[in-house]
Subunit: 346 residues, 4 copies
């Protein structure tokens, strides 16, 4: 009953196998190895983007911060949701990598709306050299609150960005879960709706630590390479990043893993329904649900692991409704959900 | 005959086994897992430093840059050799992580001398707010030119640093190779000679990508943690860094791997002797040797892989002596050296 | 009828005289001149702070950004109003000087409330290394919206900062106008209510370009000095900054100038009352007032100069109420206000 | 007998007059005033560069650092002399403003040679993403050691830069003194020899604190403006920078001041000749000369003010030759030199 996060589970055997397979003899360092070349091509194929510039980095924060630094000069600002990971959970990494650019929060909660985005961008560009310049829009898919933008919604946000001539970054730490939820292809969820740079996350969906950053406009590639190196994110033994990604792409493993995770979440939602208040649209692998404090106490005492998102376990009123976040990773079994189900109804 | 670098070889089976072993069930993220706790303690034991603050990061550049940023404020300078990796090969990463601190090169070549270091530090501190403040000394062991500082030499440099009240950082990308060459313990090669922060490298000695940064003064730990996070080097699935390091430490694997690499290098030196001009004191795993252009052409044509360090293969004079760098990693076999030996004497 | 800003007027004769007086012979550079020493002491006396560290810089943005960089490490955040100058009007200067620290906006409008500040700080410190660390609170007095915090209000905000152990910065670009409005001393409006670092602005109150930064805890002085130098804000011919400040302090000129500016504003408020909607509490030298579009068109056509704060002059509806900002500087005459009064009522 | 620096003297009456003249009524802020427009045009005329982008900043460090930041991305390096002011005397300001770019020192002493520059640039660009990218060349004229590059020498250095496609920055803190020494026009000493961005210094030649930065390629102007603002170097009361520069340009005052300073230096050189060892080619306003320790002691005791550049006054051997730097500013009189002459020969 481990619902604390999707960065806490094991890696699939197929990924381990890919590591073992890559582990023979010597290979050129820093991404000049054949496996990296192969994986780069596989990602271009997957995204139907033959000219894309593709990079592997070890963490989601690196992927986001390096991509944004490439798009956002230090005297500009990135537009994002007030609950975006880049704002709340990266200890100023975007500000660091960009050399001091700002994040401008689009009013609202979780999913940005085109109107709020338009008003925010419009307002930011009116102070000449006194305010920051308009920089990229950053969209998170799946959002931090477990919601999934529809393709139309993504397209509408990208259209707003285009009105102002600013590029769009997609934080796709849970790219696969969103693709599965929408039943679409990676291309449909990225450049076809207007995304300029997408992060295709692997770490939360089964890898030890690999994210692909995909620039659909390869002209941006050269400064990314230099920023990756000076950010200390260029692996010398790059084949081990490539091997993980190779295992992830082979036979659409990435999609299978996300399908499983989303399915577990759907079971969990079923289990919570009627008992808990569901607070998001849980079509991917996360559900936010409110339950009375006593219920949380009982669940956790019995070994369920998850994070409270509001309130705390030790309050005085047993009936207070506390919101919790439940995340399902690929390694959960239906039995785990069933045990939780039984416990919840006990 | 792969002597191009020690970041191009495979990882030992014992490290793969440790990964497999760690790959069960869920584990808390960001270093809160039991394996990270265990490895932290193992490193404290290995370094005989019960209070040390220990951090794992994925690359040597991250280890060096983050450690130096902790020691060197942006208005200061780090003292290092003109051929230091931090100066030549990290695309300004130390300047980036420190927020714009400088590197001051100690005149000389490769190994710094106490006199040159003293004169350089003394000179740097004489301009009030106009020049940079004196920051840390950074020593590389094994050096970029394949030499090994004796313990006395390290101690002499650290004593100079102490004269000026500045801390000392050890770039130990090849820490293990140096330890084996000197026949000393990690403690003897670090805090016992006066090192304040040591990088205990794993990547060049058999790991996929893990370096330990060890602060003997734990007071520095908190800002390192924050810098690691905002530098995007805090792994969520941290157990896979820890697992590699666990495999590396178990049964002194780290020492065995370096012993093997150094032994191969010694065989290579024997092989080169009398034919090539040996340009360093090759007691660790690197030898720099000069050979006529034609010999290089013949060796490379036959499949020997290594880097020329001066000149280039296509010059007109066949007799020009060109210096090459030969690096031995743990995975080379005596047969590799024997083949090279035969080829060289052919 | 020039109400556009208080950075557009001339400098008083007494300040020019002080420049002329200082302009004899040679004087040591970089602040080692006797006049700088004298002015430093005068500021300590004025603030009743014999140990204070005092620095002169040429712009308000420099004063704020350098002070905040001293208080806020790059992995932390500064708490401020959503309309703070440091957030809206400095083109990311605080982010630049701090090396990428964040600004966290305290919900509300203009003046921060203790409750909102407390909730914001409390919330920011709950994510371990993932979120930014808590940094300083920055208070603007007079606020950007022309309001003045009472001494009790300042004290309440500083008390909240003390609850969390974070320091307080005062953006005092209009320090003098606030002091006059409150009828208090500089000490009462700074360290006596809990301010740690105050900017004592001169530029908006009659100087060509000088602000004093006053650290009541001199331990912070050394890094400020270095930051000022590397920020290129240490003047070689420092006596000309000192001379301006000397003229400003002599015979309480600073207070006289602000008294005059505030008095003009009070006359302007009288003039606007009954006709315009007054939107702030205009006890200092700024009034925000709403008037119909046609009135603005008429006023501006007749030569009144001021900025619209909302809406724009060319809209279709003549009756729309548009907010304007009127700022009075020391050089305005009662005749200017009288002309405006007549025009308004024409 | 004040030869300590050219940043310690008074400002000419004509500059004060220009300040007084500018000090009437209100004027738009941030450089939108008519005087700034006029001065911008005057500088374009003076440099025979009708399209040039022109900016005023208050310090030489600001001028250099902002100009270099515009030319040098954070993953690149600037090539300069080992004794360049940007390297030795700006407390890492170039590294700060560029976001962590490096300075690469061209071996030699003081004036760079084309061969040394070519070899240094060639060597820097050979490490792919591992080393920094090639950035601008920075030339100082008059050099820190008081020498003046000939126009041919400048042209030769710029030609080397062009070979590699990198731009050239001229640190012209003593631009006027060099122009006078060479008997050339500003255009001849800048874009006509291949300079891309020139700093036309005013502070060391009589202003309180104004330097003009002149981009002969105006495409670079926009990012400079933004960098100036976020570096806190955009003056609100910009007319007072413009007024100083207006006074400086009117009737070629800049040239007259430098002519006077250089003439005083020539008299000083005459005075030193035969007694002291002259160590530079003192055609501008600085002479480096060696004298016995006892002579220095005697001169300083009698009130001569200048800096020792090597050794120190309190050594044991009275006959040691110590090098001193003597700088002449525009305000020195022939009588000052005559007094020094008499003293020296006493």
């Amino acid at each position: 009953m481990y619902f604390a996060s999707d960065n806490t589970g094991p890696i699939p055997q197929a990924v381990l196998d890919a590591l073992v397979q890559a582990n023979t003899g010597h290979a050129p360092a820093y991404g000049a190895d054949p496996l990296t070349t192969e994986v780069t091509q596989s990602l271009r194929d997957l995204f139907e983007a033959p000219d894309a510039a593709v990079f592997l980095v070890p963490t989601g924060t690196a992927a986001n911060s390096l991509a944004l630094a490439t798009l956002c000069p230090p005297y500009a600002t990135t537009f994002c949701s007030p609950v975006a990971h880049i704002h709340l959970d990266e200890c100023n990494a975007p500000e660091f990598f960009s050399g001091g650019a700002k994040l401008t929060l689009v009013p609202g909660n979780d999913r940005m709306t085109p109107d709020a985005l338009r008003a925010t961008i419009a307002n930011e560009g009116t102070r000449g050299v006194h305010g920051p310049m308009r920089g990229p829009v950053s969209i998170t898919q799946v959002t931090e609150a477990g919601n999934v933008y529809s393709l139309d919604a993504l397209n509408a946000l990208c259209s707003v960005a285009q009105e102002f001539g600013v590029p769009v970054h997609l934080d796709g730490a849970r790219f696969a879960n969103a693709c599965v939820a929408l039943g679409c292809t990676p291309a449909e969820m990225s450049w076809k709706v207007g995304i300029d740079v997408a992060v295709f996350g692997g770490t939360k969906n089964g890898l030890m630590g690999v994210e692909a950053v995909i620039f659909f406009d390869p002209d941006l590639a050269r400064t990314f390479e230099l920023r990756r190196k000076r950010g200390a994110h260029l692996f010398s033994k790059h084949r081990y990043l490539a091997a993980q990604m190779a295992g992830y792409l082979r036979n659409d493993l990435w999609r299978d893993l996300a399908t499983t995770a989303n399915a577990r979440c759907a079971e969990l939602v079923d289990s919570l329904s009627g008992i808990a208040g569901i607070e998001n649209e849980p079509t991917a692998n996360m559900v936010f649900a409110s339950l009375p404090r006593t219920t949380h106490q009982r669940l956790m005492a019995a070994g369920a692991q998850y994070h409270l998102w509001s309130g705390n376990l030790d309050g005085t009123n047993p009936d207070d409704l506390l919101t919790a976040r439940f995340v399902c990773d690929w390694s959960l079994q239906s039995e785990d959900i069933a045990r939780f189900h039984a416990l919840l109804r006990n």
